[in-house]
């Protein structure tokens, strides 16, 4: 018997809600989503996962809107970002939201990772959940790296040059990887194109897929609950996700909105002067979350570099991925997991220590202090200047003709005044209406051209070419222009 037609509280729902539900089953869907059981009840500790979702959504929205004006090419990237920050209404605000949002994403990510690790929420058949989370972590860092280059100012350019160089230190495949990332041996417009495609299409596609599997695996295993809870079979009383956990999640969302909003309003993200590859003095520094790696790389050179750049990071990465396989015990309470806690503390202190050390070294090297201060000043100076539109290359062509040959320049003016360009195209490149005049000097002598202008052939007249009768000086100039078309 068809159950959906039996009278039940759901089918007897009136109004639009009932109409929609009978066609989509939305009530059941919402109930599954919102009634997710949380053993041991809702807690503030669990808010970071959905916080990440919110920031990701914010990044997508601000990113799409930024793309209304941004052009990913070495010629125009910097100009378009300057246009956004200096001219477009709310441009500086939206761009700052996007840039600071990236840092917020990394912070909330570290909080989420720490919370799930400390609570042992990778136990109880949650290995794949942990793995998908680790991959998402890597993808988020990749988003931050690819996005950083896109403004193409000094900081973006040199930080990426160093970053792609660092990749080159990986044995055997390093150099090829660097060339693949850069689209060549050097940084250039192809680098921006690749980074843009990775940042907007490839990595987000992977992130979407992984978020889907991450949430699916999470719901399949069920929320792990507090550290006193059995990770395989929850025994504590469950509370539905809605409403209390949602409200706690929303409190983080509200905090992020207000916090980011105030930050972006008061301290907009600066844009420095355009990238100048020839500047030998520029000292690049990566974003704060890459400083530990930046500092770490300083200690490894020459033959030992394979250890520091490949072996140790790989071992660390594998250890992190293997956490749910290495720690099989059912125990989740942190005070009963000394090895796990010790490992966490060690990695945390190592990263923070490296980051602080790099700051300390920068602050105590007078040469570095001076150059960094100079760079900051140049950035501020650039931000104070009003937006300067970029001169289109087509205009320069016109200016070039004028400089080269004044007779040909005069001829060009006549060419346009007589509407020759209407059929023969600007610069004589030709249109559907009339053939190109480029290279005509190779086919006809000056006298022949003059003859053709005075007395067009039958074929020319049939195509609409009128006789051109000009004073002798003008004719000479026109022919000079036609002959300059190469």
């Amino acid at each position: 018997m068809d159950k959906s037609n039996r009278p039940s509280p759901h089918n007897l729902q009136t109004g639009f809600r009932g109409w929609l539900n009978r066609r989509t089953g939305i009530d059941a869907l919402l109930r599954t989503a919102l009634d997710e059981p949380i053993p041991g009840g809702a807690r503030l500790a669990y808010i970071f996962g959905s916080g990440l979702l919110f920031i990701f959504l914010s990044q997508i929205i601000t990113g799409v809107f930024l793309a209304l004006y941004y052009v990913p090419s070495a010629d125009h990237a910097h100009t378009t970002v300057a246009y956004i920050t200096k001219s477009v209404t709310a441009g500086s605000f939206l761009r700052s939201l996007h840039a600071y949002g990236a840092s917020a994403m990394v912070i909330v990510l570290l909080l989420h990772l720490s919370q799930t690790y400390l609570f042992g929420a990778y136990k109880g058949r949650r290995e794949l959940l942990w793995l998908s989370g680790c991959v998402l972590f890597g993808l988020v860092l990749a988003m931050a790296f690819t996005g950083y280059l896109l403004p193409w100012d000094q900081r973006a350019y040199f930080a990426t040059a160093v970053g792609t160089n660092a990749v080159g230190e990986i044995p055997w495949i390093g150099e090829s990887l660097t060339r693949l990332m850069r689209g060549g041996t050097q940084m250039g417009t192809l680098t921006i194109s690749r980074f843009f495609v990775a940042h907007v299409f490839l990595i987000p596609a992977c992130i979407f897929a992984l978020i889907g599997s991450h949430v699916f695996l999470f719901r399949k295993a069920g929320a792990a609950g507090p550290v006193t809870e059995n990770p395989y079979k929850p025994e504590q009383k469950s509370e539905p996700f809605y409403p209390r956990q949602i409200l706690m999640d929303l409190s983080l969302t509200a905090l992020l909105i207000v916090g980011l909003g105030i930050l972006c309003f008061l301290v907009p993200m600066p844009l420095g002067p355009a990238a100048n590859a020839a500047d030998p003095q520029y000292i690049p520094r990566p974003e704060w979350y890459y400083l530990p790696i930046f500092q770490w790389l300083k200690y490894w050179h020459g033959a030992a570099s394979v250890v520091g750049i490949l072996i140790i990071p790989m071992v660390l990465a594998l250890a992190v991925l293997a956490v749910p396989f290495l720690d099989r015990s059912i125990e989740r309470r942190p005070w009963k997991r000394p090895v796990a806690m010790g490992a966490y503390a060690f990695v945390l202190f190592a990263l923070v220590g490296l980051g602080l050390r790099s700051q300390y070294q920068d602050q105590h090297d007078p040469g570095v202090v001076q150059q960094l201060a100079k760079q900051k000043m140049e950035e501020e100076e650039y931000m104070r200047k009003p937006f300067e539109p970029e001169l289109s290359s087509a205009s320069l062509a016109a200016a070039n003709v004028a400089l080269a040959d004044p007779e040909a320049a005069k001829g060009e003016t006549i060419f346009k005044a007589q509407s020759c360009n209407a059929c023969h195209g600007d610069g004589g490149v030709g249109t559907a209406a009339a053939p190109a005049l480029v290279g005509i000097s190779a086919k006809f002598s000056s006298d022949r051209i003059a003859m053709l202008l005075h007395h067009p052939t039958v074929k020319m007249t049939a195509g609409g070419m009128p006789a051109v009768n000009l004073p002798a000086d003008d004719l000479k100039a026109l022919i000079a222009y036609l002959e300059s078309l190469k």
């Binding site: 039996r6 009278p7 039940s8 509280p9 007897l12 929205i61 809107f65 209304l68 004006y69 125009h76 100009t79 378009t80 300057a82 246009y83 001219s87 477009v88 209404t89 709310a90 441009g91 605000f93 939206l94 809605y242 409403p243 949602i246 929303l250 909105i257 937006f387 539109p389 970029e390 001169l391 289109s392 087509a394 205009s395 016109a398 200016a399 003016t413 346009k416 005044a417 007589q418 509407s419 360009n421 209407a422 009128p466 009768n469």
Partner: protein
Amino acid sequence: MEGKISTSGTAPEDRRSFLGVLLSLGSICMGALLSVPLLRFTLFPLLRRTTELKASSLGPLTDFSSLSEPVARTIQVEQVDGWRKMISEQTIYVTRNTRGELQALSSICPHLGCTVPWVSGKKEFICPCHGAIYSPEGSRISGPSLRGMDRLETSTQDGQLMVRFQYFRQLVADQEVMG
């Protein structure tokens, strides 16, 4: 049991749905607030007023004191297109109107935009594209154009004849500024 509508769950259901309505309203308000900058960001090119085009010099007034027929002068016009600017050259005709005053005419045919040359043999402006003919003062004589040649704003500055270049809509009977 199947037909019985359970009543035991209505009280918490009511609280939850009230909270649901509250959350939905809150989200909508939040969304509306956040979308204001996004909307203004998107509509920026439509809402901003076009910048005043600077006047360009056509030459000293003395050049035109004994004007007998229209003369062509080239000016450089700076156009701003979003974040880039283009410097294009435009041909301007300096001529006398019916009252004998100096005026500046745009060489862009008001029919479909071709450059109209002055044919001194016929003492007329004749557009080569579709045969529109204009008098030496720029008024329409015959042809497919719906109006005469477009008059541009002139002024004098330090003894120079200045003209402010603008683009006008094609194919209409009235001279309307475009953009």
